[in-house]
């Protein structure tokens, strides 16, 4: 842009036409910008008008929140009472009712830790120790068996705490294992490389259900007599091994995206392999793959519900069990909506967190 030689007054700003800005402008540009889109808009509006009001009426206006099952059966609206009346069983399973403050406080502790961890300002070494302490405390709280706390066997654990335990331990253990596998697969040492490739391809080649069956049915056969491994731990191991294989492949993608020059610059400074990976390559590679990694973590979280097939009572199973109670039969819609909401909240928290993390880490 060359400056104008004569000092003419600047061209005055005039307001844009009304039809191009504001709500009206937006509606015109996005909803009615052609006859086809106009028809679509009207159809969608009609559809919404048909479905939304009855749904609101069912879910909120005609609904019952704290009633007996008999009242529910008489009423036409949603029966959220199935949730409120059975909330303790749904959340805690067969955990002894008078002891349920223990899983409750364990879960509150977990949520507090998650909220603290969300903020990157707190990311110091101390936080890592706080996590170790918190997880140990949760475990001890759930288990009991000391200073007057009644011992609760892990076969009685169930509901939300079980889901969260499987998810949190599963994801935190699978992630580093996946990174190690990805590095191993890139290794120049043929033995390590082929081991990692075989592991990843084998695990990815079978469904999680079959791994869970193997862990609960086949694995005990190989143990010497008299030794048993806790069923939850076996399921946990299966989830970890399974998720790690997927994370490994995602991380490998990230490693391949790092330009060769980065390795060369690190090499020429004299950094060794582990320093290069830890200080230069992984911080960049892991950042690139945050979105697909979180996808895997979210789907792994939801996959924990598959433990129902080896008769662990996670929150899916406890909700289902409520439905098999003759009193509450027939309210499966409400129960599953509740369940979906619980899973959605957790998953939304994860994806929201990952988006924030990406923003914080962008340089």
């Amino acid at each position: 842009m060359t400056p104008h030689p004569t000092a003419t007054p600047a061209y005055p700003d005039i307001k844009p036409p009304v039809t191009s800005i504001g709500l009206i402008g937006w509606i015109r540009a996005n909803l009615f910008n052609s006859w086809f889109n106009s028809i679509l808009t009207l159809l969608v509006l009609a559809g919404l008008f048909k479905t939304v009001p009855p749904m609101v009426k069912w879910a909120f206006i005609d609904s019952l929140w704290t009633s007996t099952s008999a009242e529910c059966h008489a009423d036409g609206g949603a029966c959220w009472s199935i949730i409120t009346a059975n909330i303790r069983f749904i959340l805690f399973g067969f955990y002894p009712p008078d002891q349920q403050w223990r899983p409750l406080s364990a879960m509150i502790l977990l949520v507090v830790m998650l909220l603290i961890t969300r903020n990157r300002r707190w990311w110091h070494r101390a936080l890592a120790w706080a996590w170790v302490a918190a997880l140990t405390a949760m475990w001890l709280l759930m288990r009991g068996g000391f200073i007057g706390l009644q011992f609760v066997e892990s076969t009685q654990w169930g509901g939300m705490p079980l889901t969260l335990i499987l998810a949190i331990f599963g994801l935190t253990a699978a992630y580093p294992l996946g990174v190690v596998l990805a590095l191993g697969r890139q290794s120049r040492m043929p033995a390590i490389k082929s081991l990692c490739v075989i592991y990843i391809e084998l695990i990815r080649g079978v469904p999680l259900i079959s791994l869970l069956f193997m862990s609960s049915v086949i694995f005990p056969l190989f143990l010497p007599e008299g030794i048993t491994v806790n069923k939850i731990i076996r399921a946990q191991a299966a989830i970890i091994l399974f998720t790690a294989a997927y994370i490994a492949e995602v991380v490998r993608g990230g490693l391949q995206a790092i330009p060769k020059g980065q390795f060369e610059a690190a090499d020429s400074l004299g950094l060794n392999y582990f320093q290069t990976m830890r200080l230069v390559v992984l911080p960049q590679a892991l950042k690139i793959v945050i979105p697909p990694t979180v996808s895997i973590l979210i789907s792994a979280f939801k996959d924990t519900s598959l433990v129902v097939i080896i008769a662990l009572y996670d929150i899916l199973k406890t909700t289902q069990s409520t439905l098999s109670n003759p009193k509450w039969m027939g309210f499966s819609t409400e129960a599953y909506i509740f369940l979906a909401a619980v899973y959605f909240l957790c998953c939304f928290f994860m994806s929201n967190w990952s988006r924030q993390l990406e923003k914080d880490l962008s340089t």
Binding site: G261, D267, S268, L269
Partner: protein, 267 residues
Amino acid sequence: MSPNDTHTDTLPAGDPAGAADAATKPIIEIIGMHKWFGEFHVLKDINLEVRPTERIVVCGPSGSGKSTMIRCINRLEEHQRGKIIVDDIELTNNLKNIEKIREEVGMVFQHFNLFPHLTILENLTLGPIWVRKLPKKEAEETAMYYLEKVHIAEQARKYPGQLSGGQQQRVAVARSLCMKPKVMLFDEPTSALDPEMVKEVLDVMISLAQEGMTMIVVTHEMGFAKSVAHRVLFMDDGRIVEENEPEEFFSNPQHERTQLFLSQILH
């Protein structure tokens, strides 16, 4: 710093007596070195001695093996025959030796290769802290010293992506210097820069030369070669075709291939 720190004389230093006096022991020795990329014979019988504080410019057409040769010196590329001895250590597959040599040999790349996830200061302190095991504070002081030197200290807290190409390349030079290397290798340091930024990088390299740094520079900047180099090597087709003092090299090239090359780039 190098033992010949007295060599802070003025440029131009085409003087053969300069650092290149035959009495000092070479810091880099390449003897009968060959390299292949698969079937392709990229480097053929390379022989080169570089003495402390000596400055060598390597030029030649693209694909002649210039970059590959200097990348062999810190083992970014592996040679298949012959010997490379750096600072009395022979380059073999011994990882410990390779790391030791890399500590002493700085390298500046065509595309800077700064670490984008670290600030400028962190880029500079990474090597000293993890390889030289310096305390963080000391490493940062050294880093600031060299950032001052390349006139970029005020950018220390920024990330590489926020700097111009010329600034990034100067940071890259400072990053190498923070390791207090005995030799600096430059692999076409100005080729990826916008024209107006070439000078600021060359100025930094010239001041480095004035301080007596041992340098091997692959470049097409013939002005730089004329004023700074003790020796100019011309490579073609994987061989060192001609090797001479800059004055002789430019005014009276011996080899036909050199004459053609010079006529093409000097017009």
